[in-house]
Structures are given as C-alpha cells and as structure tokens.
C-alpha cells in the first residue's frame, strides 16, 4: 500500500508485526514533501510506537481477517464476543480493547480482527447511539450556541454535549473521535 492510503485504524505490517494506526497526522512543513506522522499500536502486544513516513513511500498492509461478532460481557481481564452464526466465543485482552471499551454496549455488533488466527483487536461501527445516564440541567434561557456541558453514558464514558441534552435522552457518538454528533429522537 502507498503511505497516502494511511488513515486512522489502517492495519500495516512492520517488522513482521501487525500494527493499527491509532493517531494519524498529515503535515507538509515548509510546503515540502508531505509527512505522515503516526502512532501505531502493536495489535498483539498492545505497545505503541511513533513512525513517520514521507509521501511516496510504500508499506505493507497487514493481512488481518475480520469477523462480525456481538459483544457479550466484560470479564476481569478481557472482553468476550460471540459469532452470532456459529456461537463461537472469543476473548480479547483489555489492553487490546483500549479506549474502545467506552462504546461497548451489550450486544453491539462489531468486527473482531484476527491475525494468523488469533483475535488481536476490534473495529467499532463509526457511530453508536448511547443513552445519557447523568448530566446537569442546562441553564434555562441560555441560548449561547457553543456552550457545552459534561454528560455520562451507560458505559461510564463521559463527553461534552450541548446544553439542551437531558438525562435519559439518546445521542449519537462518533467512535473515532469520541465526540457527540447529534441527538437521536426516540
């Protein structure tokens, strides 16, 4: 693959290991050659490294198989998923799930990634709908359109939402940025 195909969540092979791009920054300092500055997570060990590529460079895509699975439950040191067709269950270690745990609702359909037959990571849908379990009342009459407040969803994840969002309402969240997108009308 070409470095210009790098995006957040792209899977690449480095020194024989599969890595997933967790942070991605494209810059063109001094209008020169573009630089792709990445933080990559080793999909097996969970360790994170920094790597910079220049535009024009080539790299190897990691051959990762993905299977649709459902989230079942969180255990002491891992998360269990089930293939809804075969009922096969797999467990992913907590460090491989990382911050994706914030969006793991019961029965959420996700993709589990396998590298050489081993479950090494998951891929969330780009958006999830979650319920606000806790947030302060918005100040009445405050129409300032940029104002936000903290709110917590079912999984305990907290994020900034607009003032008009109330407890019990459902909101759409972008799992790639972790940010509020819009209110979902029931």
């Amino acid at each position: 693959m070409d470095v210009s195909d790098l995006r957040k969540n792209a899977k690449v092979k480095l020194d024989g290991h599969p890595y997933t791009v967790v942070e991605f920054q494209f810059v063109k300092p001094g209008k020169g050659q573009g630089l792709y500055k990445c933080k990559l997570k080793n999909m097996i060990t969970g360790s994170v490294i920094d790597r910079t590529w220049r535009s024009g460079e080539k790299l190897e895509a990691a051959d990762v198989e993905s299977r649709k699975m459902q989230f079942l439950y969180a255990g002491a040191d891992g998360y269990t998923f089930m293939d809804s067709a075969t009922y096969e269950q797999v467990e992913l270690a907590s460090e491989l799930v990382g911050d994706d745990k914030h969006f793991l609702l019961d029965q959420l359909e996700i993709e589990v990634l396998f590298y050489n037959g081993r479950p090494v990571g998951l891929s969330l849908p780009s958006h999830v709908v979650m319920e606000i379990t806790e947030t302060e009342q918005g100040v009445k009459g405050d129409t300032a359109t940029n104002a936000t407040k903290s709110a917590t969803v079912q999984t305990g994840y907290s994020l900034q939402v607009p003032l008009f969002i109330k407890q019990g309402e459902r909101v759409k969240i972008d799992t790639r940025t972790g940010q509020y997108v819009e209110r979902v009308n029931q």
């Binding site: 001094g30 573009g34 104002a147 509020y180």
Partner: protein, 340 residues
C-alpha cells in the same frame, strides 16, 4: 461559556458562519476594488508543483489552485481580481488538510507585495470579526510581525546563511542542526540546480517541522509574515535583491503554527517560467513522481499578451474560519467535510 477546540461546529451554525464569511469577504474585496472572477474547476494542465499531486478528472485534472487560470485573465483584463475557488489536492488529509478546500486568491495590478501582505491581515480581520460576532465568541487579537526567511532561520537555529549556497555547502553549514536527514535529501544529484533546490526545500521542511512549528505553536495568536525567501525557493515569484542577497519576492503568513497564505510578486517572464516548470518536473522525477504537462496556453499568454505587473496571494479560507471558530480541525468547521 466553554468552547472545546476539539468539537465539531453544529451544522446550522456552520451554514450561518459560511454564509456570513462568504458575503463579508466578497463585500470587503469589492470595497478594495477587486473584481470577482470564476475560473474552471477542471483544467487541462495543473501548475507544476513538486509536492502537490493533482486529482485526475479525464480529460484533465481538478485545479490544485486557480493561479494559472487567473493569470490568464490578468493578461486580458489587467485589473485587480479575486476568487474564492474550490481546489483539490490528492491525499492531503489531516487536521489542517483536506483534499477539497477553499482558496481565497487575489491579485493586485500595479501594486507592491507589501500591500498584499497587508491585505492578508485585512482578510483575517474580516473573517475574525464576522465569525466571532455570529457565534458570540471572544474576538482574538492577532499581533503581526514580519521577519525575513534567513534572519528567522538564524534567530531560531543559529545557522547563518547567505541564501545562495549550493547543496554541498548548505549541508556542511546546517548539518549540525538538521542531521543526516538534510544530507540524505540533498544528496545524489549530479545536476547542481536541482541539488540546490532539493537541499533548500529539505532545509525549509525540516526547519518548519522541528523548530519553527513548535515555536509558532507556543504563541497561537502571534501572526508571522515570513518574507524575502532565498532565491532558490522562488516557486512562481520574481527574484530581486535585498542588499547584496538575491531573494525571491515571496512571503508566507502564519497565525500560530497554522500556515495561511503564500504570496508572490508574480513572475511574468515566459522563458523563466518555462524553465521553472521544467525544474519542478525534474524534482518530481527525482522523487519518483510523474512529471506533469506544461500549461502551454498559459505560457503563450505570457508571451503574446504579457502579464501586467502584479502581486498576488492564495489564502486557505477554511483555516482562517477554523481559527476564528476556535477549533483545531478543518472538518469541525468546513461547510462540506463530514457530510459523507
């Protein structure tokens, strides 16, 4: 009220912001006696740039900037003009890059580069005024300063250069600051002209990335116009003299670490222009990129009609709007990113 720089502007506000920005910028440019023009989105030959990849759109490309097309109009109309142009650059995707974006580009006929530098501040003021009013945000004040390329390089790295060093000498003088990477980028060119361009381009890139960027980022509301580029980094600018140094009549404007605008005293000499396109293509080839066709219609206009004496600049409008909205990603304020 709290605004997190890391949140997307809601859609109804983006629409309002852009409605006001587009109207206000147009009104101000007309007050300053510019004519608004509109040039093709699909072109038969994009400007030959070493590090910009055009997006193919058979039988041509999508414009990477309206520069050549506007200069062809300047050869005909010979009056100051501006355009808010949609531009396209392949694989430029990041917090400050998008494959499609707005360039506000303008040319002043019979006027100086200094006036155009000042115009950049005027446009920033217009956008900051209108956006902060519409969103009821605090209005940031930008403190502008101007620094020449070589003095800024000396101040920030201690590397003193004349501006006319060839690749070999440049590496010797600057290697202790920029290390092997400079040497690697500069090496292996038999052609002295290409070697110098590669070395200076690498120096500018490494300096921006390692030194200037972090330093600029520390003062987010400091505006910097970098002026008087070394002649080798002339791009499409005329070259001239500053004291005993040969310089490119070119500037770049930044707010904090965000590069906003790039301007030239425009080159009108057809033969010199052809030579520069060819050099840019040699640089592309040396980096393994396809050479691009030369815009013969543009060169023919320079030769037969002549480009009036003019200075111009291209400014990334989305980036200015982003700063005015106190956001740190283009996709949080763009009027179209994030809809697909």
């Amino acid at each position: 009220m709290t605004v997190s720089p890391n949140t997307a502007l809601p859609w109804h506000e983006r629409i309002r912001v852009w409605d006001h920005v587009l109207a206000s910028v147009r009104a101000r440019m007309r007050e300053l006696d510019f004519r608004e023009v509109s040039t093709p989105v699909r072109v038969t030959a994009p400007a030959v740039e070493p590090f910009i990849a055009p997006i193919a759109c058979a039988p041509g490309w999508l414009a990477t900037s309206p520069e050549l097309a506007m200069k062809r109009l300047l050869c005909r109309h010979r009056g100051s003009m501006f355009q808010i142009a949609h531009c396209f650059r392949h694989a430029e995707v990041g917090s400050l890059h998008a494959e499609e974006f707005h360039l506000l580009e303008w040319y002043r006929v019979d006027d100086t580069l200094e006036t155009v530098v000042h115009d950049v501040e005027v446009v920033v003021d217009v956008v900051f005024d209108v956006v902060t009013r519409v969103l009821e945000l605090p209005r940031p004040r930008v403190a502008w300063r101007t620094a020449s390329f070589l003095s800024l390089l000396a101040d920030t790295t201690g590397v003193q250069l004349r501006g006319d060093e060839g690749a070999h000498e440049l590496v010797l003088v600057a290697r202790h600051v920029f290390g092997d990477e400079l040497e690697r980028a500069a090496s292996s060119d038999a052609d002295a002209e290409l070697g110098a361009l590669r070395a200076w381009t690498a120096l500018f890139s490494l300096w921006s990335d390692r030194v200037l960027g972090p330093r600029f980022a520390a003062e987010p509301w400091a505006g910097t116009h970098i002026v008087a580029f070394p002649a080798v980094l002339c791009a499409l600018a005329q070259t001239g003299r500053a004291g005993d140094q040969r310089i490119a009549c070119r500037f770049e404007s930044h707010i904090g670490a965000v590069e906003l605008a790039n301007g030239y005293k425009e080159l009108g000499d057809e033969e010199e222009q052809r030579r520069r396109f060819a050099l840019a293509n040699r640089l592309r080839s040396s980096l393994g990129e396809e050479p691009l066709p030369i815009d013969e219609a543009f060169l023919s206009d320079l030769r037969q009609l002549g480009l009036p004496s003019c200075s111009g600049v291209a400014l990334g409008l989305d980036r200015v709007v982003m700063l005015a909205c106190a956001r740190d990603r283009l996709e949080h304020v763009s009027p179209f990113l994030g809809t697909t």
